[in-house]
Symmetry: C2
Subunit: 229 residues, 2 copies
């Protein structure tokens, strides 16, 4: 019998690849998405459609209201930066404590379904400089989680898997293609059109396009300025 794992799943390139990796390692993926007032709402619609195709045995979308705290371009009226050079500076698209909040909900669901494994598609190489994507953060969350739950008290140990952590975007794309991930059903853009076309200019689009280019593969999704720009 396969083991259950909660997989944080946004419907983007990274989390979809992460879900495929969880499956390839013999886990039954329980996909968890968040409606956190993100401006890129099309992402959630797509996630709902794509989750079963990606192999999720269940998919939940949890509503959380991070908007009332403000502080991020992804949940407020701040402009999403275009053609920013992706460096180590933390951009305005950072959502305060987002991965901490997301992993906390994953921990709650894991406890209820009896899963001892959580997958998160964070990446410490081609990433946007978010503090809660760093390996030391993931390790600290795991240590905390192992003190937080009824299962932990009973001696079970919970593991946070971050299989993309040390991969480049190109390596992630290559790994996903090996696992037959259908990237046509993924979306990475922070600022897509209402029809779901990607802008091609936000941090996330830039990283995605660079990843496909370096992997020597064609990105099957559509961009505002024409396919693959």
């Amino acid at each position: 019998m396969n083991k259950k794992a909660v997989v944080l799943y946004s419907g983007g390139l990274d989390s979809t690849t992460c879900l495929a990796i969880a499956r390839s390692e013999g886990f039954e993926p329980y996909a968890l998405s968040f409606d956190y007032g993100q401006r890129h709402r099309y992402e959630l619609q797509l996630a709902r459609t794509a989750a079963p195709h990606a192999g999720a045995v269940e998919h939940r979308i949890v509503q959380i209201d991070l908007r009332q705290f403000g502080g991020s371009a992804l949940t407020t009226d701040l402009a999403v930066p275009r053609d920013r050079s992706v460096d180590s500076e933390i951009p305005v698209t950072y959502v305060p404590a987002r991965n901490t909040v997301f992993l906390s909900f994953a921990l709650a669901w894991a406890e209820v379904i009896g899963a001892a494994d959580i997958f998160i598609g964070v990446n410490a190489r081609d990433y946007s400089g978010y503090p809660d994507c760093r390996p030391e953060f993931i390790a600290a969350f795991e240590a905390m989680a192992n003190l937080a739950t009824r299962a932990a008290v009973a001696g079970a140990s919970l593991r946070i898997h971050a299989p993309l952590q040390y991969l480049t975007k190109a390596q992630i794309v290559r790994r996903g293609l090996e696992l037959n991930v259908d990237y046509a059903l993924t979306l990475s853009c922070y600022d897509p059109t209402p029809q779901g076309l990607s802008c091609g200019h936000c941090d996330s689009c830039q990283l995605r396009l660079k990843g496909f280019a370096e992997a020597g593969a064609v990105d099957p999704i559509f961009y505002v300025d024409g396919e693959n720009l």
Copy 2:
């Protein structure tokens, strides 16, 4: 100028005392409550009324949907136990990963308002055996939080204060009375009547009544079976 602190605040005896302690230590309390589908909805109504009286400079109620995960008598149709002997076994009123989720939101708000301090009224003595009330859990959360945020990257250090951690319920009541906490505006019951009368028999009522009795004080709230039973 006072320093800002986020205070987890349910409107109960512990968190109200905790808020008073934060004020007494020179903090401006930003009170944070959660609407997590708890059956004791009267608690939130009371919290809304009581927060300014308790000295909160702001009060937010965040909606989160822990119900869709199930697993607790506080958010599902499981019966709340009555007259249970309060021992070290984890009861059905335990909500999976609750304090992890609550502290994660507190961390998000703290980051947005620029607070470096979070107060939580957990208690490791007269408590219900919840794993996420233990000092080692709080310490692990603090360690994780210090890696999670933009402020952490900038070198700021965040502190989780749990001033009730080593106090008995009687000591909590005494400390609160010294600080002029109005316990008439607090509610602890897991299963109050729609009018807000406390049942007197759930774990939380039992601990509260024992606390007031041992402190030699009168609990000013009303119980179903008559004042102070």
